[in-house]
């Protein structure tokens, strides 16, 4: 009897453990007991992932990984790019103090140009090179609700920059950030502090304002004296949300300012900027809603001795969602106008130095239930740009709910990267022949196109375990190449930019989450990919396709553990592996991040964070001789809510 009783108890313990784990598996994972949450924090817990307007991400027929705000807090990341390491479907490589190469599905480069990045619906890519100056992007990470990372084409929904992926950073509504928050961290490699306060105005509108500052210490190069200088930046901003009966209004804005000191051959860089965004969402009736959004952005980047750019952008967008019996129809239009002004340096030139760029688009997408468990979504976007005229971006997606715990999906898309300033207007003066160019623009450059096929499976075989796998194939045409210029090129130039590259990308992305026990969650993810680029027969590129600039690890994987050691003690470990990069023979590396946090009081948390603990220093990107070495660092942090 007693052995039976023991057995029964063990069984019950296991079951209740598993059940508790299920209850915990819902994001965001409570890092402290719910009873220790503030009223505001309790009001902020999403208790259902079934959203009214946006398609719930779990149903999306795409390869989506969602980084939850709570995951960012537990990772100890202090910058946006470091937080992006949480997404298994992204490659993140730190280049120097503030610069990163970030990409999904190949073409990893400091000029990565096939990934669209948005912060609360505002695109932060630079039309100078269709990429992101990561050192200029700072976000109040404590106010991030989630970051949706979509690997694969998003052109139909997001436009001509979303060739290989979309990063969608979504901050919390001001209604969810009442009260005060102050955080600081300091350690061997830098320090930072941020403060935020929010509340409700008499009229019912919610508001918050924040300010943050950060100092990131200089890095040493692999060759003595060729390091990169320390980065210091400040940012402040606000957000107001007003929810009336059928209308939600959001207004937000930020100002930022930063500088990276000169070091080695790197010159000093000064950056600054400001933006303002307004959005209105109105529910017309149970079946229809409209969304209007407008934003302004100003940015300045001045790299001493290289050049300076000022950029002003205005963007307008309207969307209408209509639900019919079996259809959900979304259509909309948008217009963006950018004006830049470049002060050219002695060697690099953008000609013309002033340019107005305009993009306009129309799109329509219909999601239809073909059968009870089969959904199809078809859409097309026509986007017009000043360089190549109209581009067409269609996509077709199918999803089949195999059962209530598994979904199979497939997608076919065609997507386009329209030329940016660097593809057409970029000139490099030949230091040996001042009257001639080393690179003489790219008058013949056209849009790069990608045709993509994807097949994915997502399942949750047990309540505590979920996983996702995607296989993909992309056929690229008209990739950018650096061609030997014709002899009669005017003005004389050695090379010109053209679109005579082609390529194929194939690979698989997998990740899984497992709630191993109550308060212990494991995550694993891996990407295996093969990027194969080549030239059209007409190409005279003899630079080894260096300007295609894909330098991709064949394999990356990561394993994370989030463990609640007790009601007030939490330990997080993250191990990652990045295979060697083929160009410049950068060796593979393993690295480990760790964080130990103690909830001293419901409103006060202190933590000790170690990053890159396995090696004193390692390189993640760049050619030998100019690589920056990222050091092992340990820092302490404290968070106070009031």
């Amino acid at each position: 009897m007693s052995s039976f009783s023991l057995f029964a108890r063990a069984g019950v313990a296991l079951l209740s453990c598993a059940c508790a784990a299920q209850a915990h598996a819902q994001p965001p994972e409570p890092a402290v007991p719910l009873a220790d949450f503030s009223l505001e924090q309790l009001s902020d817990i999403v208790v259902s992932s079934v959203s009214r307007q946006d398609e719930p991400l779990g149903r999306a027929a795409a390869s989506v990984y969602v980084i939850q705000g709570a995951e960012i807090a537990r990772s100890g990341a202090t910058t946006l790019p470091e937080a992006l390491r949480l997404a298994p479907n992204l490659q993140v490589a730190r280049i120097d103090t503030g610069a990163y190469a970030i990409s999904a599905r190949g073409f990893l480069s400091s000029l990565s140009n096939k990934l669209l990045v948005m912060i609360d619906g505002r695109s932060v890519y630079s039309p100078l090179f269709s990429g992101v100056f990561w050192e200029m992007q700072d976000v109040a990470l404590e106010d991030v609700e989630r970051i949706e990372v979509i690997s694969g084409p998003g052109g139909t929904a997001w436009g001509t920059n979303a060739v290989n992926g979309v990063i969608n950073i979504i901050t919390r509504s001001a209604a969810d950030t009442h009260g005060g928050y102050a955080a600081a961290h300091a350690g061997a490699a830098g320090k930072g502090a941020s403060v935020r306060y929010g509340g409700q105005l008499d009229g019912g509108a919610h508001w918050r304002a924040y300010a943050r500052g950060q100092d990131i210490d200089a890095l040493d190069g692999d060759v003595a004296r060729l390091g990169s200088g320390g980065l210091r930046r400040q940012q402040a901003g606000f957000r107001v949300d007003w929810d009336a009966e059928a209308t939600d209004v959001t207004v937000s804005g930020d100002v930022h300012d930063g500088r990276q000191r000169a070091r080695g051959v790197q010159t000093r860089t000064d950056t600054s900027g400001a933006n303002l965004l307004g959005r209105i969402e109105h529910r017309i009736d149970a079946r229809q809603s409209v969304r209007l959004q407008a934003w302004l952005d100003h940015s300045r980047r001045d790299q001493s001795g290289i050049g300076a750019q000022r950029l002003d952008t205005v963007d307008l967008e309207a969307q209408h969602l209509l639900r019919l019996d079996r259809h959900a129809l979304t259509w909309g239009a948008g217009y963006r106008h950018s004006r830049d002004r470049i002060d050219n340096g002695p060697l690099l030139r953008f000609t013309p130095a002033h340019r107005s760029l305009r993009w306009s688009h129309l799109f329509v997408q219909d999601e239809v239930n073909l059968a009870q468990d089969v959904r199809a979504s078809a859409g097309v976007r026509v986007e017009h740009n000043v360089y190549t005229g109209s581009e067409v971006l269609p996509s077709l997606r199918l999803a089949w709910d195999v059962d209530e715990r598994a979904m199979l999906w497939a997608a076919l898309s065609r997507t386009v990267r329209a030329p940016s300033r660097i593809d057409r207007d970029f000139y490099v003066i030949d230091p040996l022949r001042p009257d001639a160019f080393l690179v003489g623009g790219g008058l013949d450059a056209v849009a790069e196109t990608a045709r993509v096929a994807e097949l994915g499976y997502r399942a949750q075989p047990t309540p505590a375990l979920s996983w996702s796998a995607t296989v993909f194939y992309t056929d690229f045409e008209r990739l950018r190449t650096l061609e030997r210029a014709a002899d009669d090129q005017a003005p004389p130039a050695t090379y010109v930019l053209a679109s005579l590259g082609k390529g194929a990308l194939r690979g698989v992305e997998v990740w899984a989450n497992w709630q191993a026990a109550r308060g212990w969650r494991l995550h694993a993810g891996a990407v295996l990919q093969d990027v194969d680029v080549g030239r059209e027969p007409a190409s005279r590129d003899n630079t080894g396709l260096s300007f295609l600039a894909g330098n991709d690890p064949r394999l990356t994987w990561s394993v994370r553990s989030a463990h609640d050691l007790g009601p007030r003690l939490r330990a997080d470990l993250a191990l990652r592996y990045v295979a060697g990069l083929p160009q410049a023979a950068l060796p593979s590396y393993h690295e480990l991040d760790a964080r130990l946090a103690w909830q001293v009081h419901p409103d006060l948390e202190i933590a000790l964070v170690g990053r890159n603990l396995l090696h004193p220093r390692h390189a993640e990107f760049g050619t030998a001789g100019s690589r920056q070495l990222i050091e092992r660092t340990v820092f302490a942090s404290a968070v106070l809510r009031f």
Binding site: A35, P56, E404
Partner: protein
């Protein structure tokens, strides 16, 4: 409804072992809509339970509601034994305003017991109204649409997939319960006057 016989711990454990997987089947399924729908209640219940505990700290009960300085704050829960269990877990070892917390899972016939905070689970407004009338509780909390009209002081709603709550100041005044302004700031809506 599983009938729990407290005098038989083995059977109680076995019952719980059987009931839990049924109750929680599909919990924590952010990826799958069906599972996610099934999952929502569990987390929602836990968040609501945490709210109930927090409410005690933001309410001031009249002195006559306590027999003496050692009288615990009492919470009664009708129609949600899972929440009563969760609240018992929360209350263990915690104090509010220097008092311990006693949690009781109440049946409809037990409603006459005086409690400081009464939570009536369920979306049936008529039933909730009837139970509210039957109870002498000071602070009443409900979770049905329009239940503030039936005399509850705080009513949970789901707004944007989050648990929020509306407050009726008139009902609080009638019950002689003072609510802190901090609670009212976080409330989704505060009703006052004829509304």
């Amino acid at each position: 409804m599983t009938i729990i016989q407290p005098d038989c711990p083995q059977r109680r454990l076995a019952c719980r072992a059987l009931a839990l997987p049924l109750m929680l089947a599909g919990v924590g399924a952010p990826l799958l809509p069906l599972a996610a729908q099934a999952a929502a209640p569990a987390l929602e219940r836990r968040v609501k339970a945490a709210f109930l505990y927090k409410f005690l700290g933001y309410a001031e009960f009249p002195p006559q509601s306590f027999a003496d300085a050692a009288t615990p704050l009492s919470i009664g829960v009708v129609g949600a034994d899972d929440m009563a269990a969760e609240l018992t877990r929360i209350a263990t070892g915690r104090m509010v305003a220097g008092r311990t917390i006693a949690v009781r899972a109440l049946r409809e016939q037990d409603l006459e017991q005086p409690v400081h905070l009464l939570f009536v689970a369920g979306e049936d407004a008529a039933r909730t109204a009837r139970l509210l009338r039957a109870s002498p509780a000071w602070l009443t909390v409900t979770e049905c649409e329009g239940c503030l009209q039936h005399g509850s002081v705080i009513n949970f709603t789901i707004v944007d997939e989050r648990v929020r709550f509306d407050v009726s100041l008139d009902a609080a005044e009638k019950k002689n319960v003072k609510l802190s302004s901090r609670l009212l700031t976080v409330a989704n809506r505060v009703q006052k006057g004829a509304s």
